[in-house]
């Protein structure tokens, strides 16, 4: 058994020895150089990859200089971020103040219609206000967007007041409109009411009007009453 194992080990060693002793083909190095010469290389003179790899090596290393460089760069980055944040806060607060002042100064003179956004006059003014960092002025603030502008209450769009609750009379009318007789409701119409009023006036006039004169008698059976007979006699005149 052990002899058989040794036999197999020898076979394995023989194969591995052949793999180890394999010689590369002749001219392989020359062919490699030819292929390398034919291959495109990166543009010469560009030092940035060298600098980047150098900094990568600095950051990847565990030396004291590497640790110092990492700490210094991290501190510088934090300081830059803090300064940028302070500048942005100052700029935004200053812009808000100037816009509020501009809006308040314009409000008494001309109030724009509620439907339109704030006009360009109060918006153009903040650009003339000096800023802490001049390059921040280059940023185009979308001033025409209504949501980005502070507007006082006088510039706010008006809305109708909420409806008041019904009075007692209105409630009674509403109840009648739902429950009363349709004929009574029809009498509430103005035309119908006017017609009824006219008819009532006619009835009144007919009732109080003087009776018509009786028709004249056909013969002399009855004395004719002359108008003169009804008139009283004058003084000194006899019947």
């Amino acid at each position: 058994m052990k002899l058989e194992h040794n036999h197999h080990d020898e076979a394995v060693d023989k194969v591995l020895a052949v793999l180890r002793d394999t010689a590369p083909p002749e001219g392989m190095q020359a062919r490699i150089h030819q292929r390398l010469a034919a291959a495109p290389t990166s543009t010469p003179g560009s030092h940035w990859p060298v600098v980047v790899s150098r900094w990568k090596a600095v950051f990847a290393g565990s030396t004291l200089a590497g640790a110092w460089a990492r700490g210094a760069l991290s501190g510088a980055a934090v300081a830059l971020l803090a300064v940028a944040a302070v500048l942005l806060l100052q700029h935004s607060s200053r812009t808000n103040h100037s816009q509020v002042a501009a809006n308040n100064s314009d409000a008494p003179h001309a109030i724009p219609p509620a439907a339109t956004p704030v006009s360009a006059a109060p918006i153009a003014q903040p650009h003339s206000v000096p800023c802490v960092s001049p390059h921040l002025l280059r940023a185009q603030v979308p001033v025409s967007a209504p949501g980005n502008i502070y507007r006082p209450a006088s510039f706010a769009p008006s809305h109708p007041a909420p409806e008041l609750p019904l009075t007692a009379q209105e409630r009674e009318l509403a109840r009648l409109a739902q429950t009363a007789d349709p004929r009574l409701l029809a009498a509430l119409a103005p035309e119908m009411q006017a017609k009824l009023d006219a008819q009532e006036t006619d009835n009144f006039n007919k009732f109080f009007a003087p009776p018509p004169a009786p028709p004249p008698a056909p013969d002399n059976a009855s004395p004719i009453i002359n108008d003169q007979s009804l008139t009283p006699p004058k003084e000194g005149e006899t019947l």
């Binding site: 197999h8 394995v12 023989k14 052949v18 793999l19 590369p24 190095q29 990859p49 060298v50 990847a60």
Partner: protein
């Protein structure tokens, strides 16, 4: 300011020139080892040479990163192993094993003995191919006398003790499989 920048660039360039070996030197020193590593995986001379050329092409493309590499030889061997394994998926090295086994057999012996010897070499190659990946890589790299156990561990990304363990298990497994196939 410009003078300082130019001076720093010159300093970087000079330091890089000192740290990074020349590509010609790399080809001269390591092409033989890389060829053997690729050949042990592929067992095809033309494919192994293509792998070596591809290795140095990659080195040429990443020449500026060489300064960050501490030990360049395990790095090159790792590239050779990976490229050879990639190429091995495209070709079929078992087709080359017959030629390889026949080439190993001595020519001065009778034909029947030559056939038996070639068959035995073929069985060994099949058994090596049947090993687990880590064990096979450790075994093939250990065949290279140029590589120490520490370098093999660096190539495989493991410790030296684990490389020794892998080698022991690979040998034992090969022995058992060859014994099973020999008796069958």
């Amino acid at each position: 300011m410009a003078a300082i920048g130019e001076q720093s660039l010159q300093w970087f360039a000079a330091e890089r020139a000192e740290a990074v070996p020349d590509l010609t030197t790399l080809v001269r020193d390591h092409s033989g080892l890389l060829y053997r590593v690729a050949f042990s995986v592929l067992r095809n001379p033309a494919e192994a040479e293509d792998v070596v050329q591809d290795i140095f092409l990659r080195v040429l493309q990443r020449q500026r990163e060489l300064s960050g590499i501490i030990d360049i030889r395990p790095w090159l061997v790792r590239i050779a192993l990976n490229l050879a394994l990639d190429r091995r998926r495209r070709i079929r090295p078992d087709q080359m094993d017959d030629l390889f086994a026949a080439g190993l057999v001595a020519t001065g012996i009778p034909a029947d003995e030559r056939l038996a010897e070639a068959s035995r070499v073929r069985r060994v190659l099949d058994a090596v191919e049947g090993l687990p990946k880590k064990e096979r890589e450790a075994l093939l790299l250990s065949a290279m006398d140029d590589l120490s156990t520490a370098e093999i561990a660096a190539v495989l990304g493991s410790s030296e003790s684990s490389v020794r363990s892998l080698l022991f298990r690979a040998r034992t497994r090969l022995r058992n499989r060859l014994a099973e196939r020999g008796s069958a």
